[in-house]
Structure formats: structure tokens, C-alpha cells
């Protein structure tokens, strides 16, 4: 088959992996081609509004496993194709030199067994680094069940490695991905996590110590294919961040790509839920929240009508309003509508002057939600009762119809530097 046709098939199969980050790595160009920019650069956006920064492709979409949610599963009747590691390297270089991409995201179906598959991925990465002297970004998938020594090799060439956890619980995994045990997935994750920590330590002592996945590791799970609550998901994510030092957890709304009776028949993918999970995840990583503050057993699922920070604030109205000229940075971060950038700007600006609401607006602080939770120079902007029902109705975006909501899903998200990833910034 022509390369063009194979590329199309393999891109089609790879696109459901949502991670697009190309940031967080620092690789310098030493007389070859490419570098990894630590801030990440997006090169284009698809018509579903996702950033394109990596050539995201599979080595092969033929797979001996049969995961129910996956287009590539053995029992699915789709055209199969594969690329050789040499072809992958050539394509990557050709695209990179034309500045189409920041680098490569290489994944694959499982051929023969985990180790053989892992070896093929490593070969492509090694060709790029050693033969083509490529210093751009490489994200390699680790194959569940792969030998720790192969995991180690993969991380020597890759900027980031990932194994997808796929589903939040052992039971769901058994049901939908019977060939992949929880242990087979967690194993490479642990190995990678240990090696990442070790390499960081060694490099503190000597700059010459070898790199291991300098951009860390990430994982992805599918939302809505199985009955787990948001609380279970968020707790799992918290564990990944705290115990495995994971860089990112990605959530992917279940899209019935596959059919089959092991799966629920969802009329539309749960995109709003996915978005709320990203926001909750954001709270864990950047806003100093713990999972149990965002959700608890009495309230195991995220409110789809308001974002999780608003939800938290509405449950803690006794803490508000806070005075913008006095509140600590950490407290400002907990005010709905105030993001990291705004909080930093406020803290900086108020050293010089006492801020009014007008000043806040000039600083670019969006007051749409924050106004209900702040005083400035002791004054509030609205004469509103701090009453949950009233506030809630104000906070719910006027566009709550499904259609409008879908379109404006990401409107509040982003920021110059952050726009390069699917964000959940609040």
C-alpha cells in the first residue's frame, strides 16, 4: 500500500489519544536538527478545535488484543496498515523540517507480544535520535506488560512516556480490556516513575547523567464507558500526581467508535463531564485543592451546571466575600473566575496601590463570576444576598442549552501559554 494511504489509516486510529502536550521538555540542539521548546508550540488546530503539535501516528493498527472501546481491537473489521520504524523517522523529519510539528507521538497496536512491540517503538525513536540527530520532542507509548529494561530504553530516547490506565477500576478493565491487567499497566508506570526520579536526582549532581523522559509521564482514561463516579476518577488522578509524580492525566469522553454489547449506548459523548473533570484536575494541580474538597461520598459526581470551583465556593459561602487587597494568594486562587495569572497580577499590583473594581478590570481580571465573591476597598459590586440559590442562578452560564454549551465549552479556558493543551483552567 502507498505510504499516503497507510499514513491516513494510522492517523485515523491514533487520533483518539487526546494528549497533545509538547511542553515541559528541554532538549538543546547540538549540531543536529531540532530542540524541544519548554513552553510548547501549537502548529495548527483541527476542526474540532484541538491543537496539533505532534505527528500522532501508530506503527501499526493491527492488534492481538480486543479492548471493547478501541477501533483497533482484533474483532473490529477495519483496514489494517503499518509503517516501518524507518518510514516513521523519515516522515517525522520531513514534517519537522517544514515546521508542521514539534515532534512525534508514537503509539501502536500490540503485535506478537508486549516486548516485541516495545522494541519496534524503541527502534523508531533510536533512529530519530541517533541516525537523524533529531532533538525535537518524542512521546512514546509504553506497552502494558513490557519488560522493565525496555521501559528504561524507551525513556532514554523519549521526552515523555505514557501508559494509558484506560479505565478507573480493575473490574471495568477486566470487562472491557480483558487482555490488559491492572498490574501489566501499573508495572511500566512504576518503573518509569522510579527512573524519572532517579534521573532527576543524578542530573542534579552531574549534568552529564543520562536523561530519562525529561518531560515526565502521563496517562489517559476513558470517561463514561463504565459506571465509575467522578470521585473515583479524581481520587485516582490524585494518586497518580502524588504517588507516581505523573505530569498529566488526560480524560477522554467515551465516543462509541466501536459498538459491541459490552458498551453503553450513549447518544452523545459526555463532553461536558469531560470538561468538568479537566477543571477538577486543574484544581488539584494548580489551585491547591485536594480531591476530597472537590467531591466526597455524599456528592460523588461533578455538577455539570457550574464549574467545580464555583461548586466548592457555593458550598463554602461563609468564607466569602474576601477582600481583594488583603486575601492571600492561595485564597485568591479559590475565588471563582480568578485564575493563576489573575491572582499573580493582583498580588503584584496591590503592592503599589489599593485596588478598586475598576483597577481589577484594567488588570484584565474577568469579573463575571469573581464579582460575587470579592470586595474591593471594602465594597461589593452588587448588592446581592450571599445566598446559594441566587448565586447559583447567576453563575450558571445563560447558555445552558446543550448546543450552545457545546460550542462555548472551552471559551473560558486557555491563556497564551496554556492554549497549547486541552485545559481546564478556571
Amino acid at each position: 500500500m502507498e505510504l499516503e494511504k497507510r499514513l491516513v489509516i494510522l492517523a485515523e486510529s491514533a487520533k483518539y489519544d487526546v494528549s497533545c502536550a509538547s511542553s515541559g521538555s528541554k532538549r538543546y540542539n547540538r549540531d543536529g536538527i531540532g530542540n524541544a521548546a519548554s513552553c510548547g508550540i501549537c502548529h495548527s488546530w483541527t476542526s474540532d478545535g484541538r491543537c496539533v503539535s505532534l505527528l500522532k501516528v501508530l506503527l501499526t493498527n493491527a492488534c492481538i488484543y480486543d479492548c471493547a472501546y478501541c477501533v483497533n481491537r482484533r474483532s473490529n473489521d477495519v483496514p489494517r496498515a503499518s509503517l516501518t520504524p524507518e518510514e516513521v523517522a523519515e516522515l517525522t523529519i520531513g514534517f519537522y523540517r517544514r515546521n508542521y510539528i514539534e515532534g512525534l507521538f508514537l503509539s501502536t497496536g500490540v503485535v506478537h507480544g508486549p516486548d516485541q512491540t516495545m522494541e519496534l517503538l524503541i527502534r523508531a525513536a533510536r533512529l530519530l535520535r541517533e541516525t537523524h540527530r533529531f532533538n525535537g520532542y518524542i512521546h512514546l507509548k509504553l506497552v502494558p506488560g513490557a519488560d522493565p529494561l525496555l521501559v528504561e530504553q524507551a525513556g532514554r530516547f523519549a521526552d515523555r512516556v505514557s501508559v494509558n490506565i484506560e479505565l478507573p477500576t480493575r473490574e471495568s478493565l477486566k470487562l472491557l480490556a480483558p487482555d490488559k491487567s491492572r498490574e501489566a499497566i501499573i508495572g511500566p508506570m512504576r518503573t518509569a516513575s522510579g527512573l524519572i526520579t532517579r534521573s532527576r536526582e543524578e542530573r542534579k549532581v552531574s549534568r552529564k547523567a543520562p536523561l530519562f523522559a525529561p518531560a515526565g509521564q502521563s496517562t489517559q482514561l476513558i470517561v463514561g464507558a463504565t459506571p465509575e463516579s467522578d470521585l473515583q476518577i479524581i481520587r485516582l488522578a490524585e494518586g497518580f500526581y502524588n504517588r507516581l509524580g505523573m505530569k498529566r492525566v488526560y480524560y477522554s469522553a467515551f465516543i462509541p467508535v466501536a459498538g459491541g454489547n459490552r458498551l453503553p449506548a450513549l447518544p452523545v459523548p459526555p463532553l461536558v463531564r469531560e470538561h468538568r473533570l479537566y477543571q477538577a484536575d486543574w484544581l488539584l494541580r494548580y489551585y491547591g485543592f485536594a480531591a476530597h474538597e472537590v467531591l466526597d461520598d455524599g456528592r460523588p459526581d461533578l455538577d455539570l451546571a457550574v464549574d467545580p470551583k464555583c461548586g466548592w465556593a457555593l458550598r463554602h459561602l461563609d468564607l466569602f466575600p474576601v477582600e481583594v487587597n488583603r486575601a492571600d494568594y492561595e485564597v485568591l486562587l479559590r475565588v471563582p473566575g480568578i485564575g493563576v495569572r489573575s491572582a499573580k497580577r493582583i498580588v503584584r499590583a496591590r503592592r503599589q496601590q489599593r485596588l478598586s473594581f475598576d483597577d481589577l478590570a484594567k488588570l484584565g481580571v474577568v469579573l463575571k463570576r469573581a464579582r460575587y465573591f470579592l470586595t474591593a476597598r471594602g465594597k461589593r459590586l452588587d448588592d446581592l444576598d450571599m445566598n446559594e440559590a441566587v448565586l447559583r442562578s447567576r453563575l450558571m452560564a445563560p447558555a445552558t442549552t446543550k448546543k450552545a454549551r457545546q460550542l462555548s465549552l472551552f471559551d473560558g479556558a486557555g491563556g497564551d501559554e496554556l492554549a497549547s493543551v486541552l485545559t481546564g483552567e478556571l
Partner: protein
């Protein structure tokens, strides 16, 4: 009432700012052409760019105010917005009074416009790093055309000079007839004026790579997530002319 004219370069505007500071008198305007409503009694001063004066001023700004202030000045200048020179003047005038704390006066009317313009320029420069599309031309170098709103080439150059160190390349701002040029395996880059007389002739495999990229790109979107409005806010139509995939 003095209207200062300069040659449109950053060194030029710095020379004017140094002069104005010495004169200690509020200028009426600073620009590259005399304002239409300058009035009968306005004195028009054509300022000869003096690189030494410019450099000394920039140096002093870096030392007495801060290096960030110098960067804000430069970036805001690159916006090429009408009237930006007077904003720079007011910003700097306040700077001599406030010293190091100038850039924390975020909502001050003399600071805000400069910060906003500078941010807009940096944002576009960052965005453009992604939107450059090189085509390999027959002569063996890589050529990319751009039409940015602001004069961002010089801000993009170091990134490309590092990343594509082993490659001959040209990035061309076709609106301003400016280009940055880098020779393979040589440090640095140069800004030159450049006007193409005809369309560049592509190398043999160029079309093949472009069509691969287009086919690949078309496949990426997930139909269930269709959201062209978001796409448009990320890749505004004005930039698409030079993108291979649109």
C-alpha cells in the same frame, strides 16, 4: 509644540526619546511622517538616528529601570500601532520618576497601553512560531511566507536559528518586504529586505510532503467533537493563506 520625525527604526525612536528627555519639554507628536493637523506654529524636528545615543539610552533603561522595561519598549514598538511612540514616551517619562517599580504600576494609564501592546506582539510572535510553513525550494533552502499583524520576525528568529541550525532557511514577511535569513551551520541570522519577483520553484519532493501533511491533517478531527468556532479563534482566517493544511 514640537513634532518629532524619525526613520521608523527602533534606534530612531530611542534617539528621539533621548532627545525629548534632554529637552525636558512635552513633544506634540512622534512619528515617521508629520501629522496632518500639526498646525502652523508646530516646530517639525527631523531626528537623525544615532545608534550610539540609542544604545546608551537602552543601557540606562536596563540598569536604572529594568531589563524588562527595555523589552516592553521594544515589543510595544514592534506593534507598529498608530501613536505607539507617544505611549513609549509617556511610559518612559513615568519610568524616570518611578524607577524599578514602573512595571508593577499595572493599571497606570502610562503603563497599561505599553504592556498591552507588548503582550499582543509577544503573543503573535509565539503563535507565529507554530504557523511558519517551510517549503523546500529547488535551490535547496526552506522558504516560508507570513503576513503577521505586527513586526514580529526579529522575535521569532532566535527560535528558528536554534531549531533549524543545520538548514538554510528564509522567513519572509510579505506585507513588509522583510525577511530573516539563516545559513546552515552558522550562528545567528540576519534581517534583510526582500521582495520576490516570482513564485519560488519547489523542490522535487515538496509537493509529496505537503500532500501527506494535508491528508494527515484532514483525518485528525473527531466528528463528534466538531467545533469550527474554536478552530477559528485559534487559527484566524487571516493566517490561513500561508498554511499548507488550509
Amino acid at each position: 509644540m514640537t513634532c518629532y520625525l524619525y526613520d521608523g527604526t527602533f534606534e530612531g525612536v530611542l534617539t528621539v526619546l533621548a532627545l525629548v528627555r534632554e529637552a525636558g519639554e512635552e513633544p506634540n507628536s512622534i512619528g515617521t511622517t508629520a501629522p496632518a493637523q500639526a498646525g502652523l506654529f508646530a516646530a517639525i524636528v527631523r531626528v537623525e538616528t544615532n545608534e550610539e545615543v540609542a544604545e546608551r539610552l537602552l543601557d540606562e533603561i536596563g540598569r536604572r529601570l529594568s531589563p524588562a522595561t527595555a523589552a516592553h519598549l521594544y515589543h510595544a514598538f514592534l506593534s507598529e500601532t498608530e501613536g505607539v511612540e507617544m505611549h513609549l514616551h509617556r511610559y518612559l517619562r513615568l519610568g524616570w520618576r518611578e524607577g524599578r517599580r514602573l512595571d508593577s504600576l499595572l493599571s497606570h494609564e502610562s503603563v497599561l497601553p505599553v504592556h498591552q501592546l507588548a503582550r499582543r506582539v509577544r503573543h503573535e510572535a509565539h503563535r507565529m512560531k507554530g504557523f511558519v510553513r517551510f517549503r523546500k525550494v529547488r535551490e535547496g533552502f526552506y522558504y516560508a511566507a507570513l503576513e503577521p499583524d505586527h513586526r514580529v520576525l526579529s522575535l521569532m528568529a532566535p527560535h528558528f536559528a536554534d531549531r533549524f541550525f543545520d538548514q538554510h532557511w528564509v522567513i519572509h514577511d510579505v506585507r513588509r518586504n522583510l525577511a530573516i535569513v539563516h545559513a546552515a551551520r552558522r550562528e545567528g541570522w540576519e534581517e534583510v529586505s526582500l521582495e520576490l519577483t516570482g513564485a519560488p520553484v519547489m523542490s522535487e519532493r515538496e509537493e509529496w510532503f505537503q500532500s501527506l501533511w494535508r491528508r494527515y491533517f484532514d483525518r485528525l478531527a473527531i466528528a463528534a467533537r466538531h467545533n469550527p468556532r474554536l478552530q477559528q479563534s485559534k487559527v484566524p482566517l487571516k493566517y490561513r493563506r500561508h498554511l499548507v493544511e488550509f
